[in-house]
Symmetry: C2
Subunit: 330 residues, 2 copies
């Protein structure tokens, strides 16, 4: 701390430079520093908007490394754009902090801005407030009119496909929790086993490829079964999930079988895409053009139930749980 | 409280209905309930975006009536659109609450949605989280390309004009504080003297009229002198403020002269518009077409200083202070 610092100074000091750089991006007409930012949306496109807030004590531990938090706060929002098949345009950040902690801010802004640069999205607006720590990010994107991937649209007979692997973020969180219970040291965000927990990726490239190919899509933020439930409810159909083929994160191998299955089916924050691929679309062609693995893990069916079956087609008694911040802290 | 309630239920229960109504608004293509919302931006327009967060203990007292809070959180953001000369398109809300309090939520959503309806803006996205109470609102608007009112652009010789009256919100807050110190009852948001504190208005109509007329504009959220300072810094000029003609809220008459002057010059949250009107533009014509009074309170000048002068042209020793959440809680 170096004495009182104004809200304006904080935004300028930690976040303004890349906004100026961002102005070179054709869509940013006016960045941080005025009453509002100005962005261009290409003609024939729709604007896509989503908000996500991370609260200390609910979504992250007080000692969560700040660079990882900056990254995660943005990645979670970019994932919503990916799930809509949208291209990012800009992002606004509202940061509430108990005090001015320069080391924390330097880490946070580095994590946030490094991902912003990689994703080609400019930070166009910011707001800093004093209070219990929380991070609210609103991301803006665009998608050709009529081509957004909604949750509705899946039909019985469509293949159920997921990208990457599942359970890695939840397994990392479980191990983190055990380390904490043992009174372990500050978490090491550079641990390669914890990449999914600390440095999640948004599947923007895949989302873009799914336009006009997938019939419906959602990102796996609350857990496979919870998000599949949302997809089915919006589409008015059910789904069958084939447990044996679900792509599991290697980290799950370090946990007991029952816990591993629970985390693969219901663990949150993997930010993979889950989508409905109609019979005519080739999965191979799609997989060839994106950098994440794609796995058919089941099928959409008539009705409204989500079932998980084993290698013999027998129904598993899996709990349908997801994140719910009001049903109890995780 | 009626048992655990899911995040999804809260948004649906308190905020979803008007989103459906909002879908009738031509710009809303997809409202609450998917990974993101979809909005149409008219061709030839730029997208305007601004975020503002209110934190309990920093921006409002725990017993602030929730309907007023819902109103204020939206009004503060709409005011940023007004200051850009923009028309509202949609708004996203991220609400963090310590617990599910139905009475609080019913009041908050009523205040928020009533203003949203009056302003013709749809709530298109929402996010509810558990944690210390705070309200983060991101508002989206559009403005014909190139016509946004920026803070830069004022020139020496331009008249300095303000809408409405100043100091009313700050005077209300001061009286509220005294009432609290005396251990008074829960504040009465229906008190007509406290309208500026509890039910501020965004000057959207005036902002729209200022396009192509004003050279620069800002909304008075941090206090007249602080916001004028921002306008001057962005425009690269100074300003002279004529103290005797500043339009004062009637509530200031109940306070000692020194305090009244301080609140008129530096009190925040009045949400009036402050703008630079070039010599060729008629103030009378403009005043005729909007419903708020317009007063010339000074002039932009060469240099970079903001001066306040009395009826004899003598410089007043006014403190240049504004809201600064990191320089100390108000």
């Amino acid at each position: 701390m170096s004495g009182p610092e104004s809200e304006f100074d904080l935004i300028q000091r930690y976040f303004a430079e890349p906004a100026a750089a961002g102005s070179a991006m054709s869509c940013v007409r006016l960045g941080i520093g005025d009453d509002a930012a100005l962005l261009g949306v290409e003609s024939g496109h729709e604007l896509v908007v989503s908000v996500d807030t991370l609260v200390e004590g609910t979504h992250f531990f007080p000692d969560h490394p700040s660079a990882s938090l900056g990254h995660k706060a943005l990645a979670a929002n970019l994932s919503d754009l990916a799930a809509m098949g949208a291209d990012p345009l800009g992002v606004v950040l509202s940061l509430t902090l108990p005090q001015v902690d320069h080391a924390w801010l330097a880490g946070f802004s580095e994590g946030f801005l490094t991902l912003a640069e990689a994703a080609g999205v400019a930070l166009v607006g910011g707001d800093t407030n004093r209070g219990p720590r929380s991070i609210s990010v609103t991301v803006l994107g665009q998608v050709p009119a009529g081509q957004a991937l909604r949750r509705s649209g899946a039909r019985p007979g469509d293949r159920l496909v997921v990208s990457g692997t599942l359970g890695g973020a939840a397994a990392g969180l479980a191990m983190e929790g055990e380390r904490r219970d043992r009174g372990g040291p500050i978490p090491d965000s550079a641990d390669p086993g914890l990449t999914r927990l600390f440095w999640p990726e948004a599947r923007l490239g895949l989302g873009r490829m799914l336009r006009n190919r997938a019939r419906a899509a959602i990102d796996v933020s609350d857990g496979l079964l919870a998000d599949l439930g949302h997809l089915c409810a919006a589409s008015g159909c059910g789904a069958r999930v084939d447990w044996p083929v679900i792509p599991r994160d290697p980290l799950l191998g370090r946990l007991p079988d029952t816990q591993a299955r629970q985390l693969a089916l219901a663990g949150g924050e993997d930010y993979e895409l889950l989508f409905a691929l109609p019979p005519g679309e080739s999965l191979d062609l799609l997989a060839f053009s994106v950098d994440s693995a794609l796995t058919v893990i089941g099928e959409f069916v008539e009705g409204n139930a989500v079932e998980v079956v084993d290698e013999n087609g027998m129904r598993l008694d899996a709990e349908h749980v997801g994140h719910d911040h009001f049903a109890g802290l995780k």
